[in-house]
Structure formats: C-alpha cells, structure tokens
Symmetry: C2
Amino acid sequence: MQVIEKISDMQSYVRKCKLDGKTIGFVPTMGYLHEGHLSLVRIARKRCDILVVSIFVNPTQFGPGEDFDKYPRDFGRDKKLCEQENVDIIFAPSVEEMYPKDSVTYVDMAGEMTKVLCGKYRPGHFRGVMTVVSKLFNIVQPDIAVFGRKDGQQLAVIRRMVSDLNFPIEIIGGETVRESDGLAMSSRNKYLTEEQRKSAPALYKSLLLAKTMIENGETDSSKIVERMRDYISNSGDFKIQYIEIEDAGTLVPVDKIRNKVMIALAVFLGETRLIDNIVV
Amino acid sequence: MQVIEKISDMQSYVRKCKLDGKTIGFVPTMGYLHEGHLSLVRIARKRCDILVVSIFVNPTQFGPGEDFDKYPRDFGRDKKLCEQENVDIIFAPSVEEMYPKDSVTYVDMAGEMTKVLCGKYRPGHFRGVMTVVSKLFNIVQPDIAVFGRKDGQQLAVIRRMVSDLNFPIEIIGGETVRESDGLAMSSRNKYLTEEQRKSAPALYKSLLLAKTMIENGETDSSKIVERMRDYISNSGDFKIQYIEIEDAGTLVPVDKIRNKVMIALAVFLGETRLIDNIVV
C-alpha cells in the first residue's frame, strides 16, 4: 500500500493504471474509519483492480461553529485498517493541496434536493460536498465509487450530480452498518458520553417503528413523524432537528406514502449531532 | 469521420480509445465554423491521436433576449469542414440529451473573474459555459482541449476552473484569427450589414492603438480607454458596452499598467454584439 499526498502524483499514478487497462475503485472518506467505512471498502475491493481510499477532512462542508477542528482524526490507525483491507492507495492531501488560496470554483445544485433535510440546517454543506467530490473524481478518475447509505441525502445528491455532469463513474450505495444495538456507525459516535451512548439506539428504533407503521398500512406521513417524535423525546436527552419522510429518489417531501420513501432524521444528543435513515 | 449524438455512445467510444492507449484532443464549438475554429482544430490535430469536435449551441449560456434562437447553424457545412481537417468524431448532442428535464447541477465561480467584462452584462453566462464545458469534459475525457483567445475571458475562466476542479486536461489557447482588415472572426459577423461590416475593423484598430500607447510608455489605463472610446465612437454606428484593461491572468481591473494586461471590449454594432481583445 502506498500513501499519496500530492494531486499531481495521484493523477500520474492513475494515468499509468489506465494505460495498463486497470479499473479503479474509490471510497472517499474523512478518515477515523469504522466498520461502516470498511464495509464500503470491501464492496469496492471486489469490483476493481486498483482500490483508492481518500482520507480528507473537507473544511468546505463544515459550517461556522460546526466540528471541523475537533472532528476525530487518527491517520496511523486508518492506515493499518486500509492495509488489512488490501487497499492499494490512500490519497491523503493537505487542505492547502486541495484548496490553494486562489481557488474559487464550486459545484452546486438548483432545486430542492440540497435545501431539504440536512441542507436546511447546514447551508453550504452540500456545495462543499459536491465540490470536493468533483475534485476527487477528477483526481482519482475511478470507474466505480462507493458511498454509504447512512448519509442518504449525500448519496442522492451525488447520484444526481454524477448524472447531471456526466461523470463516467458508477455510484454504488453501501448499506448502513450498525452496532449490535442498532446505532448507525459514525465517527461522531466517539463524542457521546456513556449515558448518551445508551440512549442513542432510540433513533434507529424510531425508524423501525415507522417502518412497521407503513407496513401495517399507515400512509399519513404526519402521523408517523408524530409517533417517532414522541418515541424519541421519551427516550433520552434528545433535541430533534428534523424528522422527515421524502421520496427516496428525488427527496421531495411526501405527505401521502405511495412509493419508496426515505425516512430521515437528525437529532442532537447533548452537543453531538447524529443522523440516520431507512428506505421503506 | 463519425457523428455521435448520444452521450453514452460518446463515452463508450472514449473508453475504447483509452484502452488502446490513444490520446484524445477536443475542440468544443457552437458550430457555424469559420477559420478561427479551424485554426483550433489544426492545433489539436497535431497533438492527439483521436480528435473530437463538439457542435452544440448551448442554451444555458444565452440570457433572456439574447440570440440563442437565431444563432447561425449549418451542420452540413460544419461536417464538410471537419472532414477536410481530419476530425475523427463530431459530437453533436441535442439540447434534450445534454439537459434532461430533471437536471439541476451547475458549476460556477466565486470572486470577480466572472463578474467583470462580459460577466457584468451577461449574468449567468459563465455559469452556463462552466457547466457545459464540465459536462463535455466528462463526456469526451480529453487529454488536451483547445479554446480560442478571442473569447479571452472564457479562456481565463476555463483555465481557472480546470485548475480548481483538478480536471486532468491541458488547456491550450489558440490565437484569434482575423479577416484581412483585422476584424476578429466570429459566427456573429454574419449578422452585420454591408455598411456595418465596413466599419467593424475599427474595433481591432482601437486595440492596436492601445498597444502602441502602452509600448510608447503610457501606463494610465483610463487615458488609454478614453482614447479607444473616442476612436470607436468616431468610426461608425457603435454603442460601446465596455472597454476595460485587466490583469491578463486574474482579470482584475488594472489602473496602472505594470504587467501583462488584457485589453478587452464589447460593442454593439447595430443589433450585433461583437467582442475582441489583445494581450500586451
């Protein structure tokens, strides 16, 4: 395994791979890898010759007052984990390498998809995501790229972007990996106190509750959201940011459930913001 | 020579070329080809194995009330000219192929570069240009792409975008090709009446006037612009939109000339908007 820090080195390496007819798989991450990331790495590993994992905590997708500075980092551990998974290249650029001072171009989206759910509470977040992912795609030039379904809105936004801008890349969504009690794995779970950690599985349980209601014939989104809100509020020190039900493809909010929907939530547990979702 | 209309066909073709180790050169155009375009085609032809010319009148870079509908088109003639220049592929997609109804992603730029010069008078123009060029780059995946220096601001914006988004593409600027009397070649010259056509070379002459002033030691931009303004106003039925002197790299307006500058102008001759520039 090789660690590459320079964009030009990464692009030269890719050029050689392409000339050799090798396919490239890509898993972009912000590091502090957990089983969720590793499951994406394993999906990609099976589907390409050369596997690139990027580790880059992208400042432009954090808002003012968000946790960019304290976002957990442990490159040594990440490196070991990648080695165990037979990753070929870790691409780990510095912030200065990715964003020289005179850099001004961005990628963004008209319409509602980046304005609902997390987009409503994190203005500029998806512009940051789309821009950095576009850059990484142009640097790594993968044939396939794997993103986690836990960031459900991010996955939908990236699929939309790849289609709109004609990136020649297949996007694969990897299932959310959960702790044995149901909590979705996240680098931010590390922030939780012992007590918070104990109440955190209520989020997934509320999603399962919603699933059961839909399976039992409930089609009224507001009733489901209300039931989830009650359940979460009674399960610990939660401050709910949103609970929403949206069309799974377009992320347009749905009042009457007819097709595939994504039920998504964002909740503060103490200071820590957690998100989760399921598609039903 | 082959004409390709579908994005997926173009991408399959490119995939095969890459596997064969062939380099791809690209000249994006809006068609109605003239000697200016052909000079770009010849530059690209010398530097690649497979030469792709795109012909697409891009609606998103025209503002309301601009000349999208009446922009001159002659695909039969364009095809013949490309054949004569040994073009391998004409990529000529429809508007619906390039912009499906649900398409929402765009590429744009913060900062001043797209807000000065033409950007001031054509809001949204450079967003349209950046978005379509990003799409074309992802479709054609060229090693080199050639753009004309006549659209000097466009060239600067594209160079900035390619650098910021890390497109693995070398951008080459081709010299402006002029009629024997100095008028810069443009598909829009076709709009001119005989009389307008006769007065049109005054634009280039005013740029040469500015060049001479600078070579003779003049460093005050406002004096040069004033002299150009006088010259043009006395040479025909011109309405000046802008005459500006900017840093040739950053397009930041320059009051005192010290380094390489671009002297650029946009002028209405009757209904027809003409642009020209030189770098001194």
